[in-house]
């Protein structure tokens, strides 16, 4: 008999707790809605439906690199951002102001506590990555999710700008990117030349195609990517080191974490040095992961530096 009594008293505690909870939320909700003024909001349609977001968001948290890049480019420095690599922090190419943005975990595992502590008024995320967190994030602030980081990056830039209430800003940024491409193409007469971005992956060699971020930027600057059947539906393709000669192009760019360390060139490439006369190491922190208008400009700056040097 004794255990049963304990059990029932425990239930009463739970019930009391539940009532208190209800009372608390009851008290909480009116105060919550009072702070949001209906006049100052816009409706944004996104991967999870439609959300009313502040017309002029002040405290934005972003969970995706392309959103961070776009927000900084638009002059809306977020109060918090998820990063790809916590040890490396916010990418250096975004500038000094971005370096002070608080990190809220990694892009794949954002920290909801830290996001709530920042008291944001708008949260941007990605359905394909943060789907499980939507309800939690929506409890903190209006939350807008783009579909997938794998969609064309310029579309994601436009989506982010729309969520931030600055659609014109996105067009300006993307036009500036296109202008810079044209400038480089003209100055260095890149038309007709081929360029291939190569990413070493422990013996294997990954080639990036024209639909990848870096590949599309090279094509934007006038280069063509050497033809492959795979480009019809792949953004990159893995190559056996036995087939390294298929990576040949007029300009070959090899990504690395340290551009000054020639030992990061894979042996398959260095053993065939004759076949790769114009080969350069480039920083993967923006060539691969710097998706966005600022990253695009950084890639183009780097490309111009390389073209001017050779």
């Amino acid at each position: 008999m004794r255990p049963r009594r304990t059990r029932s008293s425990r239930w009463s505690v739970v019930a009391a707790g539940a009532v208190t909870c209800l009372a608390l939320t009851g008290c909480g909700n009116p105060a919550d809605s009072a702070s949001t003024d209906a006049d100052d909001t816009r409706d944004v349609t996104h991967a999870r439906g439609e959300s009313a977001v502040p017309a002029d968001p002040q405290r934005v948290v972003v969970l995706e690199p392309v959103q961070l890049d776009t927000a900084v480019a638009l002059g809306v420095t977020p109060v918090g951002t998820a990063v790809l690599n916590e040890a490396a922090g916010v990418p250096a190419y975004l500038g000094d102001e971005a370096a002070d943005i608080e990190m809220v975990g990694t892009v794949t595992e954002p920290d909801v506590d830290r996001i709530a502590a920042l008291r944001p008024d708008l949260i941007l995320g990605t359905e394909s990555r943060h789907s499980a967190l939507y309800d939690q994030l929506a409890d903190v602030a209006p939350t807008v999710f783009m579909d997938s980081q794998a969609d064309p990056w310029q579309d994601n830039v436009r989506f982010t700008a729309e969520a931030l209430g600055d659609t014109d800003g996105a067009d300006e940024l993307l036009d500036a990117y296109q202008d810079r491409c044209d400038e480089i193409a003209e100055e260095h007469d890149t038309a007709g030349g081929s360029a291939q971005l190569v990413r070493p992956r422990d013996g294997l060699i990954t080639l990036y195609g024209p639909t990848s971020f870096a590949g599309s930027t090279l094509e934007c600057a006038g280069f063509t990517t050497p033809e492959r059947a795979e480009w019809a539906d792949e953004i990159s393709v893995d190559l056996s080191p036995e087939r390294v000669l298929e990576a040949q192009a007029d300009l070959v760019l090899v990504t690395t974490t340290d551009v000054d360390d020639p030992s990061t060139i894979p042996t398959a490439l260095s053993a065939n040095a004759d076949a790769f006369p114009d080969l350069h190491l480039v920083d993967q922190s923006f060539w691969i992961t710097g998706v966005g208008p600022l990253g695009g400009q950084a890639v183009l700056d780097d490309l111009e530096r390389i073209l001017s040097g050779s």
Partner: protein, 359 residues
């Protein structure tokens, strides 16, 4: 030799050798086990409060109490209530219930297979659910509910496949383990291959899940799963009687009239259900199932596996590991990483101490 099947003789003598390892379960709580359980319960209470309070959202202990029970404690703002009751509480409950669940399944597996190193991995559940999760992620993309369903299906299908492949004139633990190792290795290779084909961030996310993480233990996922696990755990005492029969060895148990294969199957099904429920939400959290029964046996100092203490050890182990993963390690790591480190270090220490006293 006529009339005696040499394979059978060798097998049963093998199992008897392994019984010496002491993989026997018992439920009857002796006094020492009760004391251990009470002590672990107190530890769980303290750690549970820490779990509700600690985090990157600044809270005072008073605010935690306010959010939990209301007056006479401070009335808290809605977001603090959300953080404590809707975010932290499900995670703490998940750690406790899931830890107990994994520990219980480990105790069942180690008893049924009479192998101190057996864990649900023998059934390929970890690798199978990871394969399911990865396929779900690749095929279904973003839908998290779909991915969880795929993980559940992957684990259960793998367990079923291993059972069917290993089934031939009864369930022999030897064949069972070999088939389990084979199927697990096949799935592990499949998983590595899928991970290598994914883009690095998706692979990173999937790998964190594959290591076992409570980051996805949100209220919506935890409450129904925890309810299922608690219901399953209520069945455990009934099954434990059969476990005691099994501990006597196949031949003896048969002689006493226990329909052994059927009971083994039912027990394994229970263990599989316990693990699958946890894995669906938290991924394959390693080592709790393997280490908790062994740790409990050594703390209690019993010859068999003490079920009550095993559940308590599992619960405390997973909760402590989750707190360390969230608040002690400077970078974001999944809880499964910490359970293996803590569990492994503790098991090493216990083994070492045991050797000293043996000397």
């Amino acid at each position: 030799m006529s009339g005696v099947d040499p394979g059978r003789v060798r097998e049963s003598s093998r199992s008897r050798v392994r019984v010496v390892g002491g993989e026997r379960a018992h439920v009857g709580l002796d006094r020492r086990e009760v004391r251990v359980c009470v002590a672990l319960g107190l530890v769980a209470l303290v750690l549970g409060f820490v779990g509700l309070w600690a985090g990157d959202f600044p809270l005072t202990p008073g605010e935690v109490m306010g959010a939990l029970v209301g007056p006479p404690f401070a009335v808290v703002e809605p977001i603090a209530y959300t953080v404590v009751v809707e975010w932290h509480l499900p995670r703490v409950v998940a750690a406790l219930v899931f830890g107990a669940s994994l520990a219980a399944s480990g105790a069942i597996f180690q008893t049924v297979t009479r192998n101190p190193l057996a864990s649900p991995d023998v059934m390929g559940l970890a690798n199978g659910s990871f394969t399911g999760m990865l396929l779900g992620l690749v095929v279904l993309g973003g839908s998290w509910a779909g991915v969880m369903a795929a993980a559940l299906a992957g684990g259960l299908l793998t367990a079923a496949a291993i059972y069917v492949l290993a089934l031939r004139d009864g369930l022999r633990d030897f064949r069972f383990i070999v088939v389990g190792i084979g199927v697990s290795a096949f799935l592990a290779a499949t998983n590595s291959w899928i991970l290598l084909r994914l883009d690095v961030e998706t692979a990173l996310f999937a790998s964190a899940w594959g290591a076992g993480t409570l980051n996805n233990a949100t209220a919506g996922a935890v409450w129904p799963t925890a309810a299922v696990v608690v219901l399953l755990l209520l069945v455990l005492p009934t099954g434990a009687a059969t476990l005691r029969q099994i501990e006597l060895g196949d031949d003896l148990a048969r002689a006493t009239g226990v329909a052994l294969d059927r009971h083994r199957l039912l027990l394994l099904l229970l263990a599989v259900a316990l693990v699958s429920a946890v894995t669906t939400v938290a991924g394959p959290i390693a080592f709790v199932a393997l280490a908790a029964p062994q740790i409990a046996r050594r703390i209690v100092g019993s010859s068999g596996i003490p079920l009550g203490a095993t559940l308590a050890v599992g619960a405390v182990l997973l909760l402590a590991a989750d707190l360390v993963a969230q608040h002690v390690v400077p970078l974001t790591v999944p809880v499964g990483v910490v359970t293996v480190v803590i569990g492994g270090a503790y098991l090493t220490w216990l083994l070492r101490r045991e050797m000293r006293t043996d000397r």
